[in-house]
C-alpha cells in the first residue's frame, strides 16, 4: 500500500550531452523560461553583429552629410544592409522574448499588474519605431540605388532618426520597470538595478537632441547623444540579462507560482 502511494523517484539525467539536453527538455520545470532567456541572448548577439558589423549602421554615419555622400554610403553598404536587415526581419520577433521575460519578472513582484500591462504595451509599440522602421527605411534605400538622391536622403534621415530619436518610449518602459522593482517586496530583482533603470531612462532623454542638431556631440552620431548613451545602455542590457538569468536560477516553481489572475483584479 505504502509503495503504491510513494512518489516516483526523479529520473536522473543521463551522462551524455545529447541525453542531458533531452532530459532537460522533458523534465526541467523552467524550460519555457530558459528558452525565453536563451532567445534573448541569441537576439542581442545577432542584433549587435547586424548593426555594428554587417550593416555598419552603428556607430551611425555622419548626420551632416550631403546627398552625394549619402548615395555613396548606400552604395558602399548595399549588400550589408540588405542581408543584415533581412536577418532582422526574420529574427525581429525574438525581441518579444525579452519583453515577455521582463513582464514575467514584474508579475512575480508584489506590485499591481498595471505595471506589467504598461510595460508590455509600451515595448510592443517601441519595437516598431525603435527598430523595424529603421530597417525598413534603410533597406528601401539600399534596394534601388537609382532613386532620386533626395528620396535616398529622406530614407537615410528617417532610418537614423527613427532609431535614435524615438527613445522616449523605451524611457517610459524603463521607468515602469524601475518603479515596480523599487516597490516590490518579494526581492525578485535587486533595488540597485531599479535605480539603474532610472539612470538608463535619464540618459535616453539625451538622444532627443539629435532631432535638432546635425553636428557635434548632440548629433545622432555625437559623443553624448550616441557613444555615452550606448555605453550606459550596453552595460544596462548586460546587467538585466544577467539578473533575468539569476531570477530563473533562484526560482522554485512550486513556491514562486504566478499569482492567480483573478486574485489580482
Amino acid at each position: 500500500m505504502t509503495a503504491a502511494l510513494a512518489i516516483p523517484a526523479p529520473v536522473p539525467p543521463p551522462a551524455s550531452r545529447l541525453g542531458r539536453i533531452a532530459w532537460q527538455w522533458r523534465h526541467n520545470p523552467k524550460l519555457e523560461l530558459w528558452l525565453a532567456w536563451y532567445t534573448i541572448v541569441v537576439f542581442y548577439n545577432v542584433f549587435g553583429i547586424v548593426f555594428f558589423v554587417v550593416t555598419r549602421t552603428k556607430p551611425p554615419p555622419k548626420a551632416w552629410w550631403g546627398l552625394p555622400r549619402i548615395v555613396e554610403w548606400f552604395a558602399e553598404n548595399r549588400l550589408g544592409l540588405l542581408t543584415g536587415f533581412g536577418t532582422i526581419f526574420f529574427m525581429g520577433a525574438f525581441a518579444t522574448a525579452s519583453t515577455a521575460l521582463i513582464v514575467y519578472s514584474i508579475r512575480r513582484m508584489s506590485v499591481s499588474p498595471a505595471f506589467a500591462w504598461s510595460y508590455r504595451l509600451l515595448y510592443s509599440l517601441a519595437a516598431v519605431p525603435g527598430m523595424l522602421l529603421t530597417c525598413i527605411a534603410l533597406v528601401a534605400g539600399a534596394m534601388r540605388l537609382d532613386r532620386d538622391p533626395r528620396l535616398l536622403g529622406l530614407l537615410y534621415d528617417m532610418g537614423f532618426l527613427s532609431f535614435s530619436g524615438t527613445m522616449g518610449i523605451f524611457l517610459v518602459g524603463s521607468v515602469v520597470w524601475a518603479v515596480a522593482i523599487l516597490l516590490d517586496r518579494n526581492g525578485v530583482l535587486p533595488k540597485w538595478f531599479g535605480y539603474f533603470n532610472i539612470c538608463n531612462a535619464l540618459t535616453e532623454v539625451v538622444v532627443a537632441t539629435c532631432c535638432i542638431v546635425k553636428e557635434g556631440p548632440f548629433a545622432w552620431n555625437g559623443v553624448i547623444a550616441f557613444y555615452i548613451n550606448m555605453v550606459v545602455f550596453g552595460i544596462y542590457t548586460g546587467v538585466f540579462i544577467t539578473y533575468l538569468k539569476q531570477m530563473i536560477e533562484h526560482e522554485e516553481p512550486e513556491r514562486d507560482y504566478l499569482p492567480n489572475r483573478l486574485a489580482l483584479l
Partner: protein, 188 residues
C-alpha cells in the same frame, strides 16, 4: 551590531549609492566632453559665458545649498525621532526645489528672449543640455522628497532608511549642480 555599524558608514540603502556612483560617472563623461569642446574654441565659450545671468546662477546655487542643509536637518531630526521638525524641514527642501525650478525656467526664458537658443552655438547646446538634464534630476528628486513626506506623515511608515535614501539622492542633485554651475558660469 553589524547593522548599526552599516548604518554609521552608509546612510540609506546601499543601492542608492550605486546610483550616485553611476550618475557621477555619466555626468563626469559629459563634463569631459564639455571641457574638450571648451578647449577647442575658448573664445566662443568665454564670450557666450558672459551672456549668462551669473546673478541668477549664484542665487540658484544658494537656494539649492540651503535645500541640502534643510534635508540634512530632516535626516538628523528623523534619527532623533522628532518627526514634526523633520517634516517641516522636508517641506522647506521641497520649497527650495520648486524655487530652483522656477528660477531655472525664468533663466531659460530670459536667454531665449535674448535669442540665445539651443542652436545658437556649441556653448549654448551644452548650457541647455546640462541644465536641462540637471532639472530632470531635480524633478525626480522632488518625487523622492514626496516619498519622504509620505513616510513621515504616517506613524506606521517612518522608515529612517528610506528618508536617508531619498536625502542621499537630493544631495547628489545638489552636488551635480555645484559642478555644473562652476563649469558653465564660473570657469574661465
Amino acid at each position: 551590531m553589524a547593522q548599526t555599524a552599516k548604518r554609521e558608514t552608509i546612510p540609506g540603502q546601499p543601492a542608492m549609492w550605486v546610483l550616485v556612483m553611476i550618475e557621477a560617472l555619466t555626468f563626469s563623461a559629459y563634463f569631459v566632453v564639455y571641457t574638450v569642446c571648451y578647449r577647442r574654441s575658448p573664445e566662443l565659450f568665454l564670450q557666450s559665458q558672459g551672456q549668462l545671468h551669473l546673478d541668477l546662477g549664484v542665487l540658484n546655487t544658494i537656494v539649492l545649498l540651503t535645500s541640502s542643509w534643510s534635508i540634512a536637518r530632516c535626516v538628523e531630526r528623523t534619527r532623533a525621532g522628532d518627526f514634526a521638525a523633520a517634516l517641516a524641514n522636508v517641506w522647506l527642501t521641497i520649497a527650495g526645489g520648486l524655487i530652483f525650478c522656477a528660477m531655472k525656467l525664468y533663466d531659460w526664458s530670459m536667454a531665449i528672449g535674448q535669442g540665445l537658443t539651443f542652436t545658437t552655438n556649441d556653448f549654448f547646446q551644452f548650457y541647455y543640455f546640462l541644465t536641462g538634464m540637471h532639472l530632470l534630476h531635480v524633478l525626480v528628486g522632488l518625487i523622492a522628497l514626496g516619498v519622504i513626506v509620505y513616510q513621515l506623515s504616517g506613524p506606521q511608515r517612518r522608515s529612517r532608511e528610506i528618508v536617508e535614501t531619498c536625502a542621499t539622492y537630493w544631495h547628489m542633485v545638489d552636488f551635480l549642480w555645484v559642478i555644473i554651475f562652476a563649469l558653465l558660469y564660473v570657469m574661465r
